[in-house]
């Protein structure tokens, strides 16, 4: 079965600036892939080239087996897109917008079913201008799935979304996967990528620097598991550094963070140390390396930089 999305050596320049520098990635049918990167990393440019909003300067793009650069119209019949912000004529009503966009496709679902699904029933006759930001996002999402797309592209979909809209989006993404459809999502919300996606492509400075499952990426991390303990009095950093298998120690007031190569041994040693110095344990957490740690390792930057 061909990939739902297959991008090879994609290049996009804006004047002398090369925003996308040879990006290659693929999305299998039924797979959810996140493109993760800080602002300006090239993820939106990559997505816009794939869906045909920007003309790529190089590379090949295949969506549902269609050469997207050669036949964007055929591709758009089979995809759905939600941009960061959806704009419609201010005076168009919600039901009218759904009806209008449904007419653009050979196959579409009924506006009423989308009104129900996205909790927009009571806003069916409201104008676009009168909708709240979250309602506009929900309408944008409804328009994105109006043709029951084989591949759904979402560009920073939860930025500025209210919790209800976010829940609905996550439900849509899961339903897409359950129906064997694919989703390519750009985001800088690491929790979203980790929770929803089968694979994560980390993009920085216009290139994909890693692409794997969240678990595999975390497993590849050089970061050690950390013990975060809170005590009733500050602990001595030098003494903590001598604990069995402790590899790094940070002390910040009453909170100590101890990286360890063998967590069981270090915890036991820590408890003994606390008893020896007469400190009371207030809180103890074991933290495994996260996708964010991986991202920082790979890019040297925090996601929201």
């Amino acid at each position: 079965m061909p990939a739902a999305v297959e991008v090879t050596d994609l290049v996009k320049r804006y004047g002398t600036v090369e925003a996308v520098r040879g990006v290659s990635l693929s999305v299998a049918p039924g797979e959810i892939v996140a493109v993760l990167g800080p602002n300006g990393a090239g993820k939106t440019s990559t997505l816009e080239c794939i869906i045909g909003l920007r003309e790529a300067d190089g590379g090949t793009i295949s969506v549902c087996g269609i050469d997207a650069r050669r036949d964007p119209s055929a591709m758009r019949e089979r995809i759905g897109v939600q941009l960061q912000a959806t704009s419609l004529p201010e005076q168009i009503r919600v039901r009218e917008a759904l009806k209008l966009f449904a007419s653009f496709y050979r196959h579409s679902v009924t506006p009423q079913s989308l009104l129900d699904r996205f909790s927009l029933g009571d806003k069916a006759d409201a104008t676009f201008a009168s909708l709240s930001g979250g309602q506009k996002q929900r309408l944008g999402l409804a328009l994105a799935v109006i043709n029951e797309p084989e591949v759904l592209f979402l560009d920073e979909p939860t930025a500025g979304m209210d919790p209800q809209a976010r829940r609905e989006l996550h439900a849509v993404i899961r339903a897409m996967k359950a129906a064997g459809r694919s989703v390519l999502i750009t985001t800088h919300y690491i929790e979203e990528a980790e929770e929803l996606c089968d694979r994560v492509a980390v993009i920085d400075h216009g290139t994909v620097i890693a692409c794997d499952t969240p678990a595999a990426l975390i497993a590849r991390s050089a970061s050690a598991t950390r013990i975060v303990c809170t005590t009733d009095r500050p602990l001595d950093r030098t003494a903590l550094a001598t604990l069995e298998n402790a590899t790094a120690v940070e002390v910040d007031g009453l909170v100590a963070r101890i990286s360890s190569g063998a967590i069981n041994h270090t915890v036991i040693a820590l408890v003994h140390h606390l008893e020896a110095v007469g400190a009371t344990l207030v809180d103890l957490q074991i933290r495994k390396p996260s996708l964010e740690d991986v991202f920082i390792e790979l890019t040297g930057r925090k996601l929201r930089d």
Partner: protein, 275 residues
């Protein structure tokens, strides 16, 4: 086709929900009718109606159309349309169609009121009038598309629109009768589509067409088709879905081609001695 007609329908519905569009599209033309009759009197309504019709078409096509397009483009509406399977050609055609309906209803209202209140006679050549209206609208809507394509803001639309509108009003025979113009202005007016539009519509009201009239009508029709066709082609080629989409290098060629047809029209008009 379903999408095309839905877009036409929606464009019309949205226009009727826009108070400003209603005022400029329907109230202002009626105001012009009253003003023209106040200035020129009721005695020659058959002659008075032609500039009113041309001004209404000019206003709807060279201001109303590009202002709507640029406003929607600035707001990202066209960017969203671009993500659908319908191509630019479909959207441009539906935009032209809906604008034609809007201009037609505006002109129909003006003519109906002129007949009812001021006794405007029935045109001598009604079918030719319909054809003339369609051709004049086609030419000016094409020009409106070019304005929308090259203007980066509503302000730019107004500047470009005025730079076409005012010469046609002042020396194009639309606002000031040709016989009152100095010789140079009369010569220049032959290069402006407004003069051909005026002449076509006026003669449909005032003349039972002779063979010579039909001949001249056909030549003017060809001129407006040429102007409208080249402008629509240029407007389509330069159509921009997004505000930050830059005009291609070929923009000068397409705008030049569009204007070149005005020059060709002028020479053709002189050659064929179109009065």
């Amino acid at each position: 086709m379903h999408g095309f007609w839905q877009h036409v329908r929606m464009t019309l519905v949205l226009n009727f929900r826009n108070r400003q569009a209603l005022i400029f599209g329907y109230v202002v033309p009626v105001f012009f009718l009253i003003a023209f009759v106040a200035i020129f009197g009721q005695t020659s309504m058959a002659k008075t109606i032609a500039p009113l019709v041309v001004i209404s078409i000019l206003g709807g096509a060279c201001f109303g159309l590009p202002i709507t397009l640029v406003n929607e483009r600035d707001r990202g509406v066209w960017r969203r349309y671009r993500l659908t399977p319908l191509g630019a050609g479909t959207f441009i055609t539906s935009t032209i169609t809906s604008r034609l309906v809007l201009v037609a209803t505006s002109v129909a209202l003006q003519i109906a009121l002129a007949m009812w209140i001021y006794g405007l006679p029935w045109p001598k050549e009604p079918l030719a009038l319909v054809v003339a209206f369609l051709l004049v609208s086609f030419a000016f809507i094409g020009i409106g598309l070019v304005i929308a394509a090259i203007a980066n803001s509503i302000g730019a639309v107004q500047a470009l629109g005025q730079s076409l509108f005012l010469p046609m009003i002042m020396i194009g025979g639309v606002g000031v009768p040709i016989h009152l113009l100095p010789k140079w202005a009369e010569t220049v007016s032959m290069f402006l589509p407004g003069r051909h539009a005026m002449a076509m519509i006026e003669r449909c009201y005032t003349h039972d067409f002779t063979d010579l009239d039909w001949q001249r009508f056909m030549w003017r029709a060809a001129i407006l088709l040429l102007i409208g066709g080249s402008a629509t082609l240029a407007g389509g080629k330069l159509f921009r879905w997004e505000a930050d989409q830059r005009l291609p290098r070929s923009a000068w060629f397409w705008v030049g081609l569009s204007l070149a047809t005005w020059i060709a029209a002028g020479f053709l008009g002189r050659l064929m001695k179109l009065a």
